[in-house]
Symmetry: C2
Subunit: 336 residues, 2 copies
């Protein structure tokens, strides 16, 4: 537990703060799901909306030389769209709050805005407004309002016995991040993947609409970190088969831990009741991406474990990104 | 007009960028009012929502020593509520995207969040979610979603012959800002006013519901700057009677220009058709604040003029805040 009297945010960390402290503040008329999930869910008339916000900060999440302003704008939007995907929703309206150094060329800011607007349009949404202020370092804070499905997927729906699935492959964006740190102009698939997340909107919507996903989250903080969020919210444990976790070839050669701990993939991690497995198999071709079974939900007492083919526990701890370098930070991992 | 090929944001300025460039990007299904007004207006089912976002950045908008973390959180919310007031709406849901130095005590961040949540609750809204990231300097970007009235007030509804009104008094927050720069602990009314904006939600809602305001804006950038926005959007000019502009006693003694150019007051500036003057007079007691007639809308060709009692033009130019120190910046005014 936290001792708030003295701790800095660097000592407390993002996860602990958000999970333990913020939820106590929320609630109110029309609030169906408050803080603590990928999106809030609110009622407006007879409709339900998803609300989410996420910011990219220069020197924390990116360096400007890593990508074009247009790509940066796209990225700021797409990481938010991934939160909408994780609840099974569809993006509708987008706001951009930008903090901009006075030295930034106006043309670059225009390209950033165009990137946001283009990515919004491609996913069926519209950039409807924003705010612009001066800041020493560039930040882009996007808020996305989406149409909610009838029963939005949440983090707290997993039960022991559920199977654990992930879309796409993991670790590529983290590999791309490491490449960009050495070569800002890198054009390999991993670098491209970091620059351009692929929010799984089609898969997310279908998995929720057909009630296949009993719990869901997007993998933004790393597989084990986000799995830990699902397990904490659902009051369960999980066992992940290390060999089953899909990763592109380059990841293992560089560092196998990237698939477990690397963030920024924006794939979907979801759980499926055994009786829904057959339905998932029938819908595979409509999801727009691969889905791979990587493990099973267990009782809470077993915690989150990664096992190899022989059933031996794998020495990968349940860590995730924490931009504050809080308690989850491993000493060997650079601060982001 | 802008030459985007070379200009930095410092040269271009916030107003020019937002007014000339951003609107071209917007539009889409369900978007009734896009960028360029105090809020966007969107349709969700049979309901209409107001969407707005605004950020406070350390060293640009405030210094941490000027107020408690709780006051800062309240302020971050209230400046957004003022945008909802300016369209005649009611706040409903709030998101906070915070960028926080690792050195910030977790307790202070908790007080900031509590301040946002408390101010939201007081105005009938709820803090439903947020995002937290590391940043070199503190920033608080709030997004507010509000219920729209049937006909939201806009900036573009003023016509020559309309009377010009303002709620409350002007210049006090700008005076408070100057006092805080000299004494961070100042407790005089002006300093308190800077710390705690008073969004005119009751007045805004009533002025719109009863169709008294033909155009409206909140005075966040200074009277003349925001009046210029109304005039540009409506294609009109305006004549302001300098002696009619209500200001607290301390303002004139310090610098009479504060009432015309000082920002951060978050009063409402609105126009009224002559035939609606009687209705406004009948409703005065229900607005929750004073309203003062300060001038008249004129044809576009006359521009925005400030005249004294004798009808002589006053040497106050139509400037407003620009956090980039863009073209509207006067050399004598410090950058914020």
């Amino acid at each position: 537990m936290l001792t708030l009297s003295a701790a800095t945010m660097g000592e407390t960390g993002e996860f602990a703060f958000l999970s333990e402290l913020l939820p106590k503040l929320a609630g109110g008329r029309g609030v169906l799901v408050g803080p603590g999930d990928d999106c809030a869910v609110v009622a407006v008339g007879t409709r339900r909306l998803l609300l989410t916000t996420d910011a990219l900060v220069e020197r924390v999440h990116f360096e400007r030389r890593w990508m074009t302003p247009h790509q940066l704008g796209r990225r700021a939007y797409l990481v938010n769209a991934s939160d909408i995907a994780a609840m099974g929703g569809r993006p509708r309206f987008c706001l951009l709050s930008a903090g901009v150094p006075a030295s930034l060329p106006a043309r670059e800011l225009m390209q950033i805005e165009r990137g946001v607007a283009a990515a919004a349009q491609e996913t069926g949404a519209a950039l409807v407004g924003g705010n612009l202020t001066r800041a020493a370092r560039l930040f882009l804070s996007v808020t996305l309002i989406g149409d909610a499905p009838r029963r939005p997927a949440r983090r707290d729906g997993a039960r022991p016995g559920d199977f654990l699935f992930v879309t796409g492959a993991l670790g590529e964006a983290a590999l791309g991040l490491r490449r960009l740190r050495r070569d800002a102009r890198a054009t390999d698939p991993a670098a491209r993947r970091f620059r351009e997340p692929l929010p799984r909107l089609t898969a997310g919507a279908l998995l929720v609409e057909r009630r296949i996903a009993s719990a869901m989250i997007d993998v933004s903080d790393g597989l084990l970190g986000d799995l830990a969020h699902v397990c904490a919210a659902s009051g369960v444990g999980a066992e992940v088969s290390s060999s089953a976790v899909p990763r592109p070839p380059g990841v293992d050669a560089f560092d196998p831990a990237l698939a477990f701990e690397g963030g920024d993939d924006y794939e979907l991690l979801f759980t499926v009741r055994p009786r829904q497995l057959a339905l998932l198999d029938r819908l595979r071709s409509k999801l727009g991406c691969a889905v791979t079974r990587i493990g099973r939900i267990t009782p809470r007492a077993t915690g989150v474990r990664v096992v190899d083919r022989d059933g031996r526990a794998h020495p990968v701890s349940a860590r995730g990104h924490d931009h504050f370098g809080g308690p989850r930070r491993s000493p060997s991992r650079s601060r982001r």
